[in-house]
Amino acid sequence: MLDFPNDPNMRLRNSSVDGADGSQLFEDTSGAGSASQAGFPGQSLLSDPMSNLAMAYGSSLATQGREIVDKNLDRFIPISKLKYYFAVDTVYVGKKLGLLVFPYMHENWEVSYQQDTPVAPRFDVNAPDLYIPAMGFITYVLVAGLALGTQNRFSPELLGVQASSALVWLIMEVLAVLLSLYLVTVNTDLTTIDLLAFSGYKYVGMIVGVVAGLLFGRPAYYLSLLWCCAAIFVFMIRTLRLKLLSEAAAEGRLVRGARNQLRMYLTMTIAAAQPIFMYWFTYHLIR
């Protein structure tokens, strides 16, 4: 026997109906509420005021949740600071790629400032950006997949393995540089994201080497990799010199002193680590 006041189905569907008001002998299948335009049966779930309340609460909860996520995300990953590194345009990217491959003719490596804040990469070719490293990383993973595919060693899991190992080594490199900067107590305005950007520039050379190797064979791979390694070495030295060394040493004058020597060694080590990584990550792709 159907028990109206306590029947959960009844209560759910017509929860607005008071228990005593058991005027229905059978289930109410009509739309009991707001969907006056729909007019179809079966709208009762949406039109029920309790479920309206639930929906309103749910959507406000979702908005609140979203705000919390945004706020916390901003605390861990500073979105506005990241936006600075992506404020690039095509001309900048073209010039920067040219610099990464051929840094020998460039004269002025200073980052220009505008009232204490560095100028956006769009306006200054010396400023670091994150677009090139990000695109370089993704392209590297895809080109590695392509290279493995031509050797018939491809599988989608391998792509993930390549991507994660490259990412982990990148993070470790950035952490190592940060640690060494801390130990040497260099007073510099290099931020973590700057270091990430500089470490990411080597992917460009790696991609050039691998593509050359895929198209023209092993000798081409070695030649292009050699060229790119030299280029990135010079690029890093010239860029970091201005940031890490003191003013005088950066201008090229000989400054004696243990601290400056230490900083010079640090710069050389960071710059030398790049070609090593470049070779390590690409040699197994060209067989």
Partner: protein, 257 residues
């Protein structure tokens, strides 16, 4: 029911116009006599009466008796309201949000990469067209014997997420995920041409390589053109086109190999 006047431009502003007056009268805001829906009074012989009894003013106290159908509202009034609501209710496609005209317009924008795109066409997030294109792409792959729907969906999801992050970081105004998914889905249309071509001819020769490169270029060019015009980014078209080209390159890899 505001959407019926300006059907073409403000299509999506016609939402289901919830009858707020009746909403306000319902249970949680009205403590006096909230729950008085005389359900027993339906006239089931008339299909029109299926519409809600909420049309009636909810302030009416229930004066009937239990198990006895009583008329506490004038049926004629409610029926006329029901009949008008049934006639005035929006057609099914509009309720679902599928506007064939807009879908066709957007498809034409993709198919003419040289034509300048209108920035406002992407104001409505329309995922029906992209869904159709994804399914068509999977179907043409199926025709060449590759059952790889999973890869198509997975790659499109990851690609959309990546583009969403990148575009939000690169543009001044943000962009919503639905908009990104919609644009990328629409520009998948030339890829369907490639895979249907691959059903008949092998794509692994020199001609296949050239065709693949051309189609990837076409897809990414249209996608970047739409993004640039919708987000008002200047001097960044190639920068937006490159990640799109990577994404469509992966799709092309699926259809070629």
């Amino acid at each position: 029911m505001s959407g019926f006047d300006n059907f073409n431009t403000d299509f999506y502003q016609s939402s289901y116009s919830v009858d707020d007056q009746n909403q306000g009268g319902y249970g949680y805001s009205n403590t006096e006599n909230p729950y008085n829906k005389p359900y027993g009074q339906y006239d089931y012989s008339q299909p029109m009466a299926y519409a809600s009894p909420g049309m009636m003013p909810p302030q009416q106290p229930y004066t009937g008796q239990i198990f006895q159908p009583t008329q506490t509202y004038t049926p004629s009034q409610s029926q006329s309201m029901y009949s008008s609501s049934f006639d005035d209710e929006p057609p099914l496609l509009e309720e679902l949000g599928i506007n064939f005209d807009h879908i066709w317009q957007k498809t034409l924008t993709v198919l003419h990469p040289m034509k300048v795109a209108d920035g406002s066409i992407m104001n409505e997030t329309d995922l029906a067209g992209p869904m159709v294109f994804c399914l068509a792409f999977g179907a043409t792959l199926l025709l060449s014997g590759k059952i790889q729907f999973g890869y198509v969906y997975g790659i499109s999801a990851i690609g959309c997420l990546g583009m969403y992050c990148l575009l939000n970081l690169m543009s001044m105004t943000g962009v919503s995920f639905g908009c990104v998914a919609s644009v990328l889905g629409y520009c998948l249309l030339p890829m369907i041409l490639l895979s249907s071509f691959g059903v008949l001819f092998s794509l692994q020769g020199m001609m296949g390589v050239i065709l693949t490169a051309a189609i990837i270029g076409w897809c990414s060019f249209s996608a970047s053109k739409i993004f640039i015009s919708a987000l008002a980014m200047d001097g960044q078209q190639l920068l937006v086109a490159y990640p799109c080209a990577l994404l469509y390159g992966v799709f092309a890899l699926i259809s070629v190999f």
